[in-house]
Amino acid sequence: MHALAIQQLQKTYKNGFHALKGIDLKVEEGDFFALLGPNGAGKTTLIGILSSLVMKTSGRISVFGKDLDTEPEAVKSCIGLVPQEFNFSVFDKVLEVTTTEAGYHGLPKKLALERAEKYLKQLDLWDKRKVTPRMLSGGMKRRLMIARALVHEPKLLILDEPTAGVDIEIRHTMWQFLRKINQQGTTIILTTHYLEEAEDLCRNIAIINNGHIIENTRMSELLGQLQLETFVFYLQKPLFKTPDLPEYDPLLVDETTLELSLRESQTMNDLFDRLSNQGIKVARMRNKRNRLEELFINLIHVNSKK
């Protein structure tokens, strides 16, 4: 059974903006799925429709076999939502934020408190349970939104940019946590602007642009499509002239920084041989861009030209 199946989903806002232009999408049960796209592509509209915050214009949506039109409450029970914007009740304390959500999902008080304690502890917020969310840091607020979304233990967790504005250490902790939740059986749909996050966590991916799905495949297959990768080489000794490596499109950024591009057919061994032959010693190297980022930019660029 699919965790999510979307057929011909359309959304036109009252001002005439056609945000979604016939989306078809399937997400397997247990998947960790990336939904990527530039700003304004339609990701948040799509998530809004899935979580019943935005009215669709047409199309069908089913979640674990339940139709959103005919069984909206059954669908809502399956979904946990972590929205992009903070939307806490201003006067509620952290513990109340989670138990209230549990109450909306019909959990009895005792179970609600147990679940709230479980997820607040797992997300390192238990010590903050008696303060209001506005007293929390940005990272803590993001984690609170995750705890709140998980309190009814949904089968499908939708995360709309959950790590936006979160420092790198907390981001990695959140990744570990999300991986664990996914391994325990929760299907996760993630939108993010940190493409290394999507590459690191997700098995399948869809890229949305201008209201259309322009790519929907396995992450490994998509990364396999990468035909050109740019690397940055930090040289041991300064170089005053661009080396004669025309097949690698060399760019001498400064005396000790050289950028070279590798095509799919070229190997790193050949490149290092060529560098050695010219007496160039490499101290360190890195990808100029994350591989998914490279593909993402290419895809959006090609799609925009159509």
Binding site: P83, E101, G103, H105, G106, L107
Partner: protein, 255 residues
């Protein structure tokens, strides 16, 4: 069903906690203003007015003052709470949860009713310091206060559904509700009005609610109580259906 009950209880307790947490802003002012009304209109001026329909003036205005506060507080509770939830987007939690429109409405309306009743208790307590109140028709009194509070809770909710800013929920109470309440027979019997004014007053729905409540407490009414209940129940059902439809269509809360 059990899930619905828990969701309803969650919304209701949240609503009650919201207005009791700021009791100085919500429960105390009606007590203070009623005290002033009783002192000025009841005690000082009322003594010169004499009897109204066979009861002292202070006793005559007591039911209207209770009802006036029930109406304004039930309205204010749902309008401010729902708009606040829209403004801070916490309404999204509720819309994304498996909570039916009827449960959402029931939770907010009951929150307004409880505030209305709490204020009624405060105002009645103040009234008891000035006059004796004997409940002549307890069932009529109870049904009237409950249904009136429910009606104005729904009205406040509808106002908040359409409201885009906090100013939008003060316009109707200030420019419509307050004048209608003052002209709705709280301080006088419409039979005392000259010319066509008693007839015009019959178009003011608050006249019916105030008189129903006054009938419940004092057995005095300017209107037929069956007509009063028909108006009350008719308006209640109409506004409930309207509120349900607005929430179902996502007016003001979904895009």
């Amino acid at each position: 069903m059990a899930n619905g009950y828990i969701a309803f209880k969650t919304i209701l307790l949240k609503e009650i906690s919201r207005f009791t947490r700021v009791w100085i802003q919500t429960l105390l002012p009606p007590g203070i203003t009623t005290l002033l009304y009783f002192l000025i209109f009841g005690h000082v001026m009322g003594a010169r007015i004499g009897l109204m329909h066979g009861v002292s003036y202070i006793e005559y205005i007591a039911p209207g003052l209770v009802m006036m506060n029930v109406i304004s507080n039930a309205y204010a509770n749902t309008s401010s709470s729902f708009l606040q939830a829209k403004f801070f987007r916490s309404i999204e939690e509720l819309l994304a949860a498996p909570v039916s429109n009827n449960i959402i409405l029931a939770g907010f309306i009951m929150g307004g009713v409880i505030r209305g009743l709490a204020v009624a208790v405060v105002v009645t307590t103040v009234a008891l310091c000035f006059t004796n109140i004997h409940v002549m028709h307890p069932i009529v009194t109870l049904i009237t206060v409950l249904l009136t509070a429910a009606l104005f809770s729904i009205a406040g909710l509808i106002n908040a559904i359409y409201a885009k800013k906090f100013d939008d929920i003060s316009i109707i109470p200030t420019f419509i509700l307050t004048p209608l309440t003052y002209l709705g027979g709280v301080f006088y019997s419409v039979h005392l009005l000259p010319g066509i004014w008693p007839t015009i007053s019959l178009f003011n729905p608050i006249l019916y609610f105030v008189n129903l409540f006054r009938y419940g407490l004092l057995n005095i009414s300017d209107i037929n109580i069956y007509v009063g209940f028909t108006v009350l129940i008719g308006m209640l059902l109409s506004l409930y259906i309207m509120a349900w439809w607005l929430i179902d269509k996502g007016v003001g809360i979904k895009t």
